[in-house]
Symmetry: C2
Subunit: 282 residues, 2 copies
Amino acid sequence: MVLDGSWYTESSDELGLGFSLRIKEKLHEEVSDYQTIAVYETETFGRLLTIDGLVMLTDRDNFVYHEMMTHPAIFSHGHVKHVVVIGGGDCGTLREVLKHPAIESVTQIDIDERVTRVSEQYFPQLVDSNDDPRAQLAFEDGVAWMQNAAAGSVDLIIIDSTDPIGPAEGLFNEAFYRQCHRVLAEHGMLVQQSESPLAHSTLIAEMHAGFARAGFAATHLMSFPLPSYPTGWWSATLAARDDLALAMPTETLDFHTDYYTPAMHHAAFAQPAFMQRILAAS
Amino acid sequence: MVLDGSWYTESSDELGLGFSLRIKEKLHEEVSDYQTIAVYETETFGRLLTIDGLVMLTDRDNFVYHEMMTHPAIFSHGHVKHVVVIGGGDCGTLREVLKHPAIESVTQIDIDERVTRVSEQYFPQLVDSNDDPRAQLAFEDGVAWMQNAAAGSVDLIIIDSTDPIGPAEGLFNEAFYRQCHRVLAEHGMLVQQSESPLAHSTLIAEMHAGFARAGFAATHLMSFPLPSYPTGWWSATLAARDDLALAMPTETLDFHTDYYTPAMHHAAFAQPAFMQRILAAS
């Protein structure tokens, strides 16, 4: 069947895949200095944010992404005080980081201020921690910011970017990873969204090799479901500056989550057999 | 954007979701006594089998489903000798079960022989264990078969059916579960595909409650990615006749898998926080 205009569809000829959400109305569309930002009201997934026609998040499933981009890395490190988020203009990652009372500062650096302003208007629950005194929002280029940052000044870098094409391309290569490595304090960690295990396993292997060449001592792949991203199966890569055993999450959490639990933390690091083989060979 | 006729699209107004695969050609379509069966050649997911317009499987991702419908239950039981598969006419589940040398018999009962005949023609890799002397294929009604089966005669029942509408509706209720419970031997187990944790959590809770009312001592939910099913996030429910600790998988497997590993076995049983709350409340 062919879907009519009451559906929003993201399709990729390269992946041979399409994903559609039934929409009630388009709430917003603008062309910022960097990209086209749009917001839709969907029938069953709440609001939908798109950038350049690609799904960034929906009200209904962003909890999985934001929780998995933050809590596993924070607990695996064990003593995070200073966090930098590269990208993440919707502020959902920032909100999750701020749930950890021991964290002293979080700096979010997104090149496009309009993403944050649109989130403030249409996704109020994502920005509801933005007035936390520990949070700082900067609207500038993440690559340049990292080049200028002091060595050893950050415990955790979270790279919460769009796909490795367009504005985010510079965030997926060895040169940037070297800068991140320099900026990380002793025992520091980095976590980056790393696309679909099924559709982008070559990219994942290249990312892991890039982290190794940039000096990171260990990389760990985490997988999780993400219905609104291509294949519905997504991943994040944790890269550790030093080769230490990962810390364990606490038995119970002091804050509310919808996906993350200590058991899901462990589960996310388990590798499907095919991915185990790909990573072992790379 | 609106996708043209070179895409196969499965959409659900109820879920507000659509999933599309770019196709090269339709290879087959027939109306059997029970349903419409079609096969497409896709651009990136290999061949696609549909029944009544719904995706049953693709070459590219069926490995996750078939491995997770079989190996976790077989290893959790620990001493499976006699298996019954209800549904599963594509024979992919049968193939995975037969990888376990200790299993002595597997009977597959699918109401529609045409599904198996179409699989023989278009999905040769799924049927490549059908001539194993331990395998028996019956083409009859699974509900009736279960009513006539001897008490205590089966170690593991695998319900590998379509959605709980249409021909498979009778496989998702307490009356059928009671029959299964009767047919299971001491320490017997049942595993049933249980739809999407995100989209069908109410159904999952109802299924678990139904198993409990039918006499099963324990139920365990397993989750896994499945790109070609709605939301890309799927589940299976393991119901145990007796409340024993689940056996642990062996450290290494004696056969090839692409998704299942002992670590993924453990990972699949971890519950997202929202699902933990739903199951605790039901």
